[in-house]
């Protein structure tokens, strides 16, 4: 993977092969990729809704299942919900800074994006550490952990993507007219931060009270 993307960066940035027409490929490719990711995460939220809307007798016929301790949605889950959108604001700041030719500001903005993302992952880890149930505790644990865990995994991917863009911006790879890699990272990051609202509302809040 690393070698592949290294080659793409060399071809686009150093060899200049990514003409306007070639840039359309990764742009159009990003759209179905992100749409498929949305579908994947929605399937996990759907699994949670499916199990919670008509709880089976095996788990006591109630949701959350009898004996399951759930997190207070007003605590870390609520804290962790505005962090990804704030990071999304920072990536928009970076985008406008690139378009305005403010190269240093764009690097600062990407540092802010990545920092907020890391704080979010840290709080997610803390939440799992304090959580009264685990993935092995009934269908609640399975659906809760797979949905929030896969979202957290996407946060980590988006963080790596933003780190790469930050390094490339620092090295002067991204210009006003040509920054497809950054745009793909920004689209991906907005997808990740908007999707966070869904587990918060449906799993933590509605599913936990």
């Amino acid at each position: 993977m690393f070698v592949w993307w290294r080659d793409v960066l060399r071809e686009s940035t150093l060899e200049g092969h990514h003409t306007k027409v070639v840039q359309l490929g990764p742009r159009y490719g990003s759209i179905p990729f992100i749409v498929s990711e949305v579908m994947f995460l929605f399937a996990l939220f759907r699994a949670s809704s499916h199990s919670s809307l008509a709880p089976t007798v095996e788990i006591g016929g109630i949701w959350p299942p009898k004996g399951i301790g759930v997190l207070d949605p007003r605590e870390i889950p609520f804290l962790n919900t505005p962090i990804p959108p704030s990071s999304g604001a920072a990536v928009t700041w970076a985008h406008h800074a690139i378009l305005a030719g403010k190269e240093k500001r764009a690097v600062y903005a990407l540092v802010a994006t990545v920092s907020l993302a890391l704080v979010s992952t840290g709080f997610q880890g803390m939440e799992y550490y304090q959580a009264p149930s685990t993935i092995s505790d009934s269908i609640y644990g399975s659906t809760f952990s797979s949905a929030t865990g896969f979202h957290g995994f996407h946060v980590i991917i988006g963080t790596l993507f933003s780190i790469i863009c930050g390094i490339r911006q620092y090295l002067g790879h991204l210009t006003k007219e040509h920054h497809v890699g950054f745009e793909a990272a920004a689209w991906y990051w907005h997808f990740v931060d908007v999707v966070r609202l869904f587990p918060f509302v449906s799993i933590y809040w509605w599913g936990g009270i």
Partner: protein
């Protein structure tokens, strides 16, 4: 004849020139980018301030501990032989925490 050749040449030259200024496809910003940069910088700071206040408030409250639930068959499922034994790698948290 000479005139028409000159006209043709200038038309060809015009065709070969890239359209300036370069139009940014996929772009919706008609505003001044410097102004937008400053605006989104402020929004980011506002977000950071909000998250910091929320974090301090949350962390100062502490978290409550949960009692061990009764041993229902659907809880604490152990049906795979992991190399590290029957409990999860982070399972000890309930005992020492």
């Amino acid at each position: 004849m000479a005139m028409s050749r000159a006209a043709l040449q200038s038309a060809l030259r015009r065709l070969g020139r890239p359209n300036a200024p370069a139009k940014r496809n996929f772009s919706s910003s008609a505003h001044d980018d410097a102004h937008e940069t400053a605006k989104w910088e402020k929004i980011t700071y506002l977000g950071i301030a909000t998250c910091t206040i929320l974090a301090f408030y949350n962390l100062s409250k502490g978290h409550h501990h949960f009692e061990e639930p009764p041993q229902y068959p659907y809880l604490h499922i152990r049906n795979k032989e992991f190399p590290w034994g029957p409990d999860g790698l982070f399972e000890a948290k309930h005992k020492d925490h």
